[in-house]
Symmetry: C2
Subunit: 142 residues, 2 copies
DNA sequence: TCATAGATTATAATTATTCTAAACTGTTGA
DNA sequence: TCAACAGTTTAGAATAATTATAATCTATGA
């Protein structure tokens, strides 16, 4: 998904019918400078705020999963409470702030490229992801 | 948690009352050569099989969380379906087999040590974990 | 325009997990 | 030794995220 307009065509090209709901959700997700991370509830809230209308929660789930399957979104595993999604679909790593429950992309210079030297035989690697859990350093709180 | 006997003392030392349930769960978890990964349901099943008795599911949850808080267990984030726990509490990385839903420890020589060069300011790093998702290579299935 | 496959929706169902409150038990100190 | 009490276990209810259902709606190609 690239930035700005004509989501209708983009959707059709990937075999998804450009329904009103999908186009609107595309706008909410992809019509912006920076990529971001969200939960289903974040997105549902953002939809009703930004668009001033409310899609069925089932539609939000359906759409997010469809977009994930088509590669517009990535799912990030943080914990078993809820799923996080990422509009940045490039291979990258994350900081997870355990105080604010916020996901932050690592930059290329935050850590070296991960090199898997030995893999399980007969398996191919689908993804390699680093999760760096951080929290406020209460050692020196004065 | 070290291998073999006297879990009663171990539990007491860390401030946990050595109840029958906790000692038994210690035996199931730690009285073995190799560390392993499990879900709550795996463990509940293993308890009723190995010990031929059934602890309340709430007790299994309580105990696993208590053990995690005391550092006997680690929780591994794989997806939002359920939590995985690990009796290997050392810092290490994982392969996740998306076919079998099996977690496999990486060896030290499977990948280089991860070096975080830049961290979020004001935060301390609690953990750095790599998850390598693998699946059967259906390219050459003949 | 029409038929139809595909989507949306409200709502119910499912599943993992946590909460509740009553009964039970390990520990401590008289 | 034993009563008292805090901590623990338990069944079952509650919660929360997610998925399933089935009726209604809509995009699309003929
Ligand atoms: Mn959790
Ligand atoms: Mn999922
Ligand atoms: Zn990201
Ligand atoms: Zn492990």
């Amino acid at each position: 998904m690239t930035k700005n307009f004509n989501f209708t065509e983009k959707l059709r090209e990937t075999g998804l019918r450009p329904t009103k709901q999908r186009v609107k959700i595309c706008e909410v997700l992809f019509n912006r400078e920076k990529t971001f991370h969200f939960t289903i509830n974040d997105l549902a809230k953002k939809i009703s705020e930004d668009l001033n209308e409310k899609f069925s929660l089932a539609t939000v789930y359906n759409t997010v999963h469809a977009f994930k399957d088509k590669g517009y979104l990535k799912e990030i595993a943080i914990n078993s409470d809820k799923s996080y999604f990422d509009t940045n679909t490039s291979s990258h790593h994350h900081f997870y702030d355990e105080d604010t429950h916020e996901l932050i992309d690592c930059n290329k210079d935050d850590l070296d490229t991960i090199n898997i030297k030995k893999n399980i035989t007969g398996k191919k690697i689908n993804s390699v992801e680093v999760l760096i859990r951080v929290a406020s350093d209460n050692q020196n709180q004065n």
